[in-house]
């Protein structure tokens, strides 16, 4: 009985902050101190279908997909070295791949922003994709390194001895074996990019408008319905993705989703 009460309290505590978000998204008017909105509206829905929001959604999707693809490719390469080899300098490499997770991205990006301006990368989507590699590549390399460490190399050897070339072995043997880890990594890096605000603002200069940027300015305005509707639009894809893959993640991998910060 006491257990059920505790579980109930936890569920309420976890869900409570989301309640006003859902309510404001459909609230036409909600006077203080009413506990429920007085009038419902579909203005929030209309708002997320506006051209500006649709364009920002597409920009966010394109940037997140590019970041995820690049981070996975770079992570596959580095992961092979980290997961399969013991070499001099391995600890240093691991430290370098941990440091960007620990040191604030804002502090790092302030210093190089002037170089993005100088080389014409500021205010461009390309610049935003490049700067977002900084928080994503370390995760991709670490996760895929762990996957490589569990890889049975005998499969590759057999493929090679049967006459498959390096490329064919990679595409038809290694990649399918790494697929679960690769899917997790792709989703995780996608989420990091999708949620990123400050790096996009610093390098995109407000010219590259992603959804978090629209959401931030909506929160700053007094239109709570707009902010809540945009908030739902930003939060839905990550939650759906995590729920969809949650069943197939093992314990440690589940924890990694918590690192999709931003």
């Amino acid at each position: 009985m006491r257990g059920r009460v505790l579980v109930g309290a936890v569920v309420v505590a976890l869900l409570l902050p989301v309640v006003p978000l859902l309510a404001w998204a459909v609230a036409g008017s909600w006077r203080y101190p009413d506990v429920v909105p007085g009038r419902l509206t579909r203005r929030g829905l209309d708002l997320v279908l506006e051209g500006e929001v649709v364009a920002a959604t597409l920009t966010s999707l394109a940037i997140a997909a590019s970041v995820a693809t690049l981070a996975c490719a770079i992570g596959l390469s580095a992961g092979r070295a980290i997961g399969l080899h013991r070499f001099r300098g391995r600890r240093l490499v691991q430290f370098l791949l941990l440091a960007p997770v620990i040191v604030p991205g804002l502090a790092v990006t302030l210093g190089i922003q002037v170089f993005f301006v100088r080389y014409g990368l500021s205010d461009t989507a390309l610049g935003v994709v490049l700067v977002q590699l900084m928080p994503t590549v370390p995760y991709a390399a670490t996760l895929l390194g762990a996957a490589y460490a569990n890889l049975d190399l005998d499969y590759e050897r057999q493929a090679r001895s049967l006459g498959a070339g390096a490329t064919r072995t990679f595409l038809t043997v290694t990649l399918p074996l790494l697929r679960p880890a690769l899917v997790t990594t792709a989703l995780l890096t996608f989420l990091i990019s999708w949620s990123e605000y400050i790096l996009t603002l610093l390098i995109g200069g407000g010219q590259v408008t992603t959804l978090p940027l629209l959401l931030f300015s909506a929160i700053g305005s007094s239109d709570r319905t707009a902010a809540a509707a945009l908030g739902l639009l930003v939060v839905l894809p990550p939650v759906l993705i995590v729920l969809a893959v949650a069943g197939r993640l093992r314990g440690r991998e589940q924890a990694w989703t918590g690192l999709a910060r931003g």
Binding site: L21, A78, V101, V108, A227, G231
Partner: protein, 296 residues
Amino acid sequence: MSLLTVRGAQRVPDRVRIWLLLSPALLVVGVFFVGGVGQALLQSLGRQPFLGETDWSLDAYRATFADPAFRASLVLTLRVVVLSTLFATVLGVALALLVRRHARGPLTTLLQSTLAVPHLVGALCIGLLLSPSGLLSRLAASVGLIDSAQGFPVLTNDAFGWGIIAEYTWKEAPFIAVVALASLTPAVRDLEGAARTLGAGPWRRLRTVTLPMIAPAVAAGSVLVASFAAASYEVPRLLGQSFPATLPVVALQRFNDTDLLVRPQAMAVATILALLSLTLVAAYLVLVSRLTRRAL
């Protein structure tokens, strides 16, 4: 490793191949991360790239430390980091033990969904919940606890940082819970069973078996929580005050100052912030390794 070299081609030495495989990742980390930290440091010491002015000085640091606003922001940042990490860790471990005991499936799903919520949305949610006209204030008014929104305690954009701490705790306690659950393996249960057979009560089992077993993973998770609490910009920007603000907010305020002479100060704050995160992590790791050794 000869199997991975192209047949008939010259065999590439392992050492070269390893560094070739690593080079794209090292390029990213080297250019953006090492370059970024290095540039923040250089620019804080008076070097301005592309302007040709280089007079090395510690003026930016002197000005920064002399500024009462900076000192207030340092205190606020440390308070937010320590309290958020403490609350998230204690609640997260309690949550994990509760989930293991009562409701593994549905609650785990709920924890994971909370993990996926971007902090920007989390800040919006906490704002709509805790602000003077937020949901909690409405609930308090409807049951007659307060007369008006003015009667509700100021929990967002407050000087103490409660709103910021609430957001971090709400988002990070489930993270710690998931980390702890992952290390609560069947082996831990076996050990707890053995302790029970030997006559250890529930508290003793928790203190001497369960907590030491999950401590390393939880400690690592807490380090990430602390570093995130020190690093985030949007949460303190939306839920805190602009004075005193946390260090990331101060860094960006100075960076955006129209007076370019303030730029080195922005870089000094950024450098201090980077050092602070690294120090926090190092101190914490040392502390935890001592604690776990003693407990075991």
